[in-house]
């Protein structure tokens, strides 16, 4: 039931993880579940509701399902202004 997912990190998430990306096994069923898993593991300061996700280079909803081999990016709030 574990999937292999490739994760990319940017900006504050990249700094807090200390990596630009990694390929990991996970049991998380959705984008939101995976972020929560990683947030706890790596001590990310951004709460889930301020992070968007993109899977295979398309923005997706938080409850989007994860599939074997997906490439996911967690997107911190943009600079705005």
């Amino acid at each position: 039931m574990n999937k292999t997912i490739s994760v990319q990190y940017f900006a504050i998430l990249r700094e807090q993880r200390g990596l630009s990306g990694e390929t990991i096994p996970t049991a998380a069923a959705t984008a939101a579940a995976l972020y929560e898993e990683l947030r706890v593991r790596h001590g990310f300061t951004l709460p889930a509701e301020r992070v968007r996700a993109a899977i295979n280079e398309e923005f997706v909803a938080a409850e989007a399902p994860l599939r074997e081999g997906d490439r996911i990016v967690f997107i911190p709030p943009v600079a705005g202004g």
Partner: protein
Amino acid sequence: MFRISSTALDPAVLHAAQRNVQAGACVTFEGWVRDRNEGQPVRSLEYEAYEPLARAEGERILAEARERFALVGAECIHRVGHLQLGELAVWVGVTAEHRAAAFDACRYIIDEAKARLPIWKKEYYASGATAWINCATRGEHAAPARPPG
């Protein structure tokens, strides 16, 4: 066309590419690295982009502007990397037959770009501190929101 550049932008070159005898009006916006933000002295800035998505979103924004306004041309280029004071961070150039469309479209493009592009900004302060803008959470010192600029 929308582009992301990791090298310095030359506004004269960008500008020259816009020339078109069908256009009567050209409006350009440039965002520069300025020496303070929210009252704090800033030394330099770093921009980081999720490039594939930023390019796709940038092209969508330009297509929206072409649909909404009567334009001759529309371009946007965003820098990434470490930028010093006074450097050009983002450039928008719009040409149109008439100036109202050029002004409206230029403003639309930069407003949407700032709100929608997956591009992040880190400020390096004179104090030695740094902050990812808009990524602050409880306990960090940078304000989570700032006025448009």
